[in-house]
């Protein structure tokens, strides 16, 4: 497995307040080393889960502190980092660029295989791996949400990243597609880091981080993490 290392990672964004522009702290001093093959990130809306995940491939840069993937700094060695870290967004349509899945997978492979024939063969292999040949030539708009999500996954995994980051991969999926995704994720050799509001999915992980207001509020065993998170949510509500 790879080694993902956040040291004092802090993320701020500029916001407009009545008193003029100001900094808002989105993540504050996150110190964590991830080496497990399955890590889930849970937490309330706006707690900072997506920001934490986006740090891992340099989509977001820490304003202070460092984020390293196998020793590579995400701010300075972004290109090498992105070759190692594949990222899957919640909405696969925002990441599928080409009209059909096959073309999209081939797009991923253009640099690796400048030769047209080799590229087509490599794409076919990737699509086959996910059982997607049958859907590969349909318009991505005609696929179901789950099929699209798998297609986006295939396009990302086509270039063999060693780490896969997914931001709420099951949010748009129905029960059946969610199971499909779950089973697919379980078979991947990659190190997988994902955020989710789906606590059952979180329980599939080896380690769970609970993010609360920009900090890691709990880090450890999935069952305990989920219990911690439930208590945290319940505490804010008071008696009914």
């Amino acid at each position: 497995m790879s080694r993902i290392e956040l040291a004092g990672a802090r993320v701020t964004v500029p916001v407009e307040a009545d008193s003029g522009p100001r900094e808002k702290v989105v993540l504050d001093g996150v110190d964590v080393v991830l080496t497990e093959s399955r890590v889930a990130v849970i937490g309330a809306n706006g707690s900072g889960k997506s920001t934490l995940l986006r740090l891992l491939n340099g989509l977001v840069e820490p304003s202070s502190g460092t984020v390293r993937i196998d020793g590579l700094d995400t701010s300075r060695e972004t290109r090498a980092v992105r070759q190692r870290v594949g990222f899957v967004f919640t909405d696969p349509l925002s990441q599928l660029v080409m009209p059909t899945g096959r073309e999209d997978v081939e797009l991923s492979l253009r640099r690796r295989h400048p030769n047209r024939g080799e590229r087509a063969a490599a794409a076919q292999e990737v699509l086959g791996r996910f059982g997607l040949q049958r859907l590969a030539d349909q318009s991505v708009y005609e696929l179901s949400g789950g099929e699209r999500q798998l297609m986006a996954l295939a396009a990302v995994l086509a270039v063999d990243p060693s780490i896969l980051v997914l931001d709420e991969p099951s949010t748009l999926l129905d029960l059946r597609n969610r199971e499909l995704l779950r089973r697919t994720l379980a078979t991947l050799p990659q190190q997988v880091i994902f955020s989710t509001h789906d606590l059952e999915l979180a329980l599939d992980a080896e380690r769970v981080l609970v993010v609360e207001a920009g900090r890691i509020a709990f880090d450890g065993d999935p069952t305990e993490a989920v219990r911690f998170y439930r208590d945290l949510c319940g505490a804010g509500l008071g008696p009914l």
Binding site: F87, P99, E106, L107
Partner: protein, 213 residues
């Protein structure tokens, strides 16, 4: 309604074996290039009208169909109408007609290209054409990517335009220009950001040098 479904003139390849399909890619490229240059060079609206008629004729004779043509023009007509009115007011009818006809000409010419050439071929050709620029530090793959994004973005953005129109109508705001345009701008910006992020995340936007080939 359309939910951002692909359609319209840049809606992708239409399989076929017409004379336009069989015309070599470089000839069609040249034609689009000429059509593009025409917008700057043709200074008479009648020349523009004749050129546009010729491209339309090519479109129809290749069996690409009136439906696709109508579907796509529906997308640009509202914008062109606004532009036409504005230019008429600023520069008079002849100039307004020339500008609008030339834009339409480029649009249809580009449409001929994307309808009769599979996108993969188009990308390969663009990357090849751009490869001489490599020595100036340009990355040919980026040109190809830009084309791919363009082809994909037009229908998505057009979809946003109509979707927002529906949303405004549902709220009884169809007369409010603000209710119709502001969300389009916002969703366009959001779309551009998402696409940019997605490409960056896939390493597709990164330059070529020191790549791990």
């Amino acid at each position: 309604m359309s939910g951002g479904r692909p359609g319209g003139i840049l809606g992708g390849y239409v399989p076929g074996n017409s004379w336009l399909h069989r015309t070599p890619l470089w000839v069609k490229f040249l034609a689009v290039l000429i059509a593009g240059a025409a917008s700057f060079l043709l200074l008479d609206w009648r020349v523009s009208a004749v050129s546009l008629a010729a491209v339309l004729l090519a479109w129809l004779s290749a069996g690409l169909g009136l439906r696709r043509l109508a579907g796509s023009t529906r997308v640009v007509v509202p914008l062109l109408a606004v532009l036409f009115a504005f230019q008429w007011w600023q520069q008079g009818p002849a100039t307004a007609a020339r500008i609008v006809l030339n834009l339409l000409l480029c649009f249809v010419a580009a449409g001929v290209l994307t309808a009769t050439v599979p996108l993969q071929d188009l990308l390969d050709a663009v990357a090849r054409l751009a490869s001489p620029f490599r020595r100036f530090g340009a990355d040919p793959e980026r040109f190809a990517l830009a084309i791919a994004i363009m082809v994909r973005s037009v229908p998505v953005l057009a979809g946003a335009f109509y979707e927002v129109g529906d949303a405004a109508r549902a709220r009884g705001l169809e007369r409010s220009v603000r209710a119709r345009t502001l969300p389009v701008v916002l969703s366009t910006v959001a779309y551009a950001r998402r696409t940019g992020d997605a490409l960056a995340a896939r390493g597709l936007g990164d330059p070529d040098e020191d790549s791990s080939l």
